[in-house]
Amino acid sequence: MSSGHVTKRAKYKTSIKDPGTPGALRLNEQKLMFMPDNRNSTTKLSVEFKSIQGHKYTKEGSNKPPLINLSNTQGGSYIFEFDSYSDLHVCRDFVSKILEKKSRDTSSVASEKAAVTLPDEQLSAAEMHLRIKLLQEDSELQNLHQQFVGGNILTEAEFWAARKKLLDRDSSRKSNQRVGFKSVMISEIRPLTDGRTNKVTFSLTPEIILQIFAEKPSVHRAFLNLVPNKMTEMEFWTKYCRAEYLNRTKNVHAAAAEAAEDEELALFLKEDDILATEVRKKIRRVDPTLDMEADEGDDYMHLPDHGIFRDGSKELNESQHELYRRTLLQDLNRHAAVVLEGRTVDVEMEDNTRAVAEALARSKQGNCGLKFSCKEGADGNESEERLDRMARATALEDLQPPHSLPLAPLSIKDARDYFDSQQVNALETSRDPSGKMESLGSLSTQEAYASVRDAISQIKAMGVSDPIINPEVALKVFNGLTHSISSIKYNHGKNPRESVLDRLPTATKEKLLQHWTCIQELLKHFWSSYPITTPYLYAKVTRLKDAMSNIYRQLEEMKASLKSDLRHQVSLLVRPMQQALDAAIQHHDADLQKRSAKSGGERPNGYV
């Protein structure tokens, strides 16, 4: 059944022998509810389907009353007796559908990574798949996930809470690609001719019909008007195919003769008036202004050997039945235009031709509102439009308002580029802080200004000092610069963007980066948990702190295990990480002390 819920009269029994309380049983996708008739009775029920494990029911044809027995996960059961077996069947089908869906979901999840949901987290199956997909795509993310969620340091919800952007972005990429129209002109239906019986058979599929409606709007309109009021669909298409056949024979006179008799046939034979009006509109909107400069190159008339010379004297007279002649070129152009416009109606979705026609009409209406501003007015409007267009074409550049300035896009760099620059801080702090500013004495501002002015007048009087630089000093400067440049080159490599990391062996580098991302993640969660207001946060912070001490130890071990020439560089890199961890652990201990000091005496229940 298509509805999402079922309501039936039933009696709720606690056991088979129990006479049961009459009431109404209501089932929907998440739970079942039972309301007894007697409002004062206490046997109201509301049970989630999550806790329903299985169902048993009495068979029709047996002498037993129609009963259904729903067993839940704790071993209890709910028994309902229905008025009739048909009610029982309806409810039974519904329940079995839900249970089946539930088992499918749980089994598909269980077959993937272990233990991904918590019972208190309501996740749809789609979100679950999305998370698993993300984990499979990014191995770094997978490592983090395994380490933290698998190691019981963070819960699933916390891990993904920081990554909402990833989840959101993926869910919007769901649009299916629709197949467009074929470039083959299937609307040019060719019949099968049977020479013996002189029968001509046309076969129309829904796809062909959709194309016909798209390419020939007057046929579309005729269909909507005539079927099923004036004629059946079969008759309509018969007439249409007859018109096509007549056109194919290129017998204009025969076509005219038949058109004179049958009104509807005439519709199909003469030119499409809707298309004609559209084309006329388009012609009116053509830009009448002339680009003189560009046109000069297009003058084919006065250059010899260019273009085709047209001699109007050889043209045939127009026959009075010109109306019924249709050219291949017109059809081809129209088909191409329709294909390029794209498909807006899905044939599979519609049940019959009428529905297809209506869907197409609806989509066209929508398009018309968007694409053209269909201003059909008097000619006055048209000329106004034309003037407006001309004004736009001859716009004067200097009278334009200023264009909005282009914005530079925000470029957020990968944090890893800055990884190795942290060692500068380590170097700075390791140097002794004696290079502080000498705050010896102070001149007042006035005196300072005066001294500057003195200096200026001194230079004016004496000229720029000569020599500008002492040769020994210059040599020293050169040597110093050369030395520093070459030492940096030695330490950091020739490439200015090459980092210290690249000079370490790959295994060490990978481990370092992994530790770093773990530490970032831990610190992120750690600092966001403060200030601690609930016991949950407290437990989380304790877990995080243990993990941080663990990583600290791992860093120390790694440093000790390295060869001596690498050890110094790695310790420089590792130092800021350790500093960050130290700061966090210190803060945690301080906070703990403060708490225990504050609540030294009375401690209300549950308050941490």
């Binding site: 000498e438 501002t445 007048s457 230079i459 004016k460 630089i469 600092w527």
Partner: protein, 272 residues
């Protein structure tokens, strides 16, 4: 500090020199050799040298004082009028004259303020002026490329400037702190006079690493742990009652939660 600009070909230099003569700095120094006049004369020689390297080179000098910033010299506008006694090139004479006038004006602006006012550097203002000048030069030409403006910084002083380091790194300029002040001219000519074309094959000194740490908004000191406004991400080293960038009042902290159960206006001061 200097700002280099790219001329139309790569080997032409449009140098916009931003000189930060922060008066309180000089007020605190008591160095008897008084480096200021010598620094100034070396700078003048350096500017002259730049102009000599190529006929199309241009030099603009912007001075940052205590209370104002202003253009001191523009080589594209200089007239051939010579000041004084002809003992020095026009550039120096004009520049010194303008500098003197600028100092007088700056002092006038500063009159009436309290002596103990905390002075802050107007470097950002003069950098903006420099960049606007460069943009104007490029827009007035027939080409409209986006100029790539590397910012070179030469730091004279005891400490290190994280801001200048970061600025030079991000704009792929050169940052250097001369070890010997009396060799300043040599440093300037060797490192900072190079045009962009030559920088492709010259090895210029690179700092060991750049200090990317953030600075707090209240004291401008580099910090590792700070309080951050959850809306505008301004960084503070101590707990504040309201954000100094946009004035919103912060919510009460956890310590005060026991006293008043009020969760504030939706803005929060987080620690991290």
């Amino acid at each position: 500090m200097s700002v280099d600009g790219r001329g139309y070909p790569d080997y032409i230099v449009i140098l916009v020199l931003v000189c930060d003569y922060w008066i309180p700095f000089h007020a605190k120094m008591r160095n008897p050799t008084k480096p200021f006049p010598t620094t100034l004369s070396r700078m003048l020689a350096f500017l002259n040298a730049i102009l000599t390297l190529n006929q199309l080179n241009q030099v603009v000098v912007i001075a940052t004082g205590c209370n104002s910033c202003d253009y001191i010299y523009d080589s594209s506008k200089a007239t051939n009028q010579s000041f004084g006694n002809g003992r020095m090139p026009t550039l120096c004479a004009t520049l010194l004259q303008n500098l003197e006038e600028f100092m007088t004006r700056d002092e006038q602006l500063g009159k009436g303020e309290a002596e103990e006012r905390i002075a802050c550097s107007l470097l950002s203002g003069s950098l903006s002026m420099a960049l606007c000048y460069i943009q104007r030069v490029f827009r007035s030409g027939s080409l409209h490329p986006q100029p790539r403006v590397p910012i070179d910084s030469c730091y004279i002083g005891a400490q290190n400037s994280a801001f200048l380091q970061q600025a030079s790194y991000i704009t792929s300029g050169v940052h250097h702190k001369p070890q010997q002040l009396d060799g300043l001219f040599q440093y300037l000519l060797t490192i900072f006079a190079t045009d962009l074309h030559s920088r492709n094959f010259l090895q210029l000194p690179k700092p060991v690493g750049v200090d990317f740490r953030a600075s707090c908004f209240c004291h401008k000191s580099t910090i590792d742990m700070s309080y951050i406004c959850s809306v505008c991400l301004s960084i503070f080293c101590t707990r504040h009652k309201k954000c100094s960038t946009w004035g919103s009042v912060f919510a009460k902290g956890a310590a005060d939660l026991k006293l008043m159960k009020d969760h504030g206006n939706g803005t929060d001061l987080r620690q991290g």
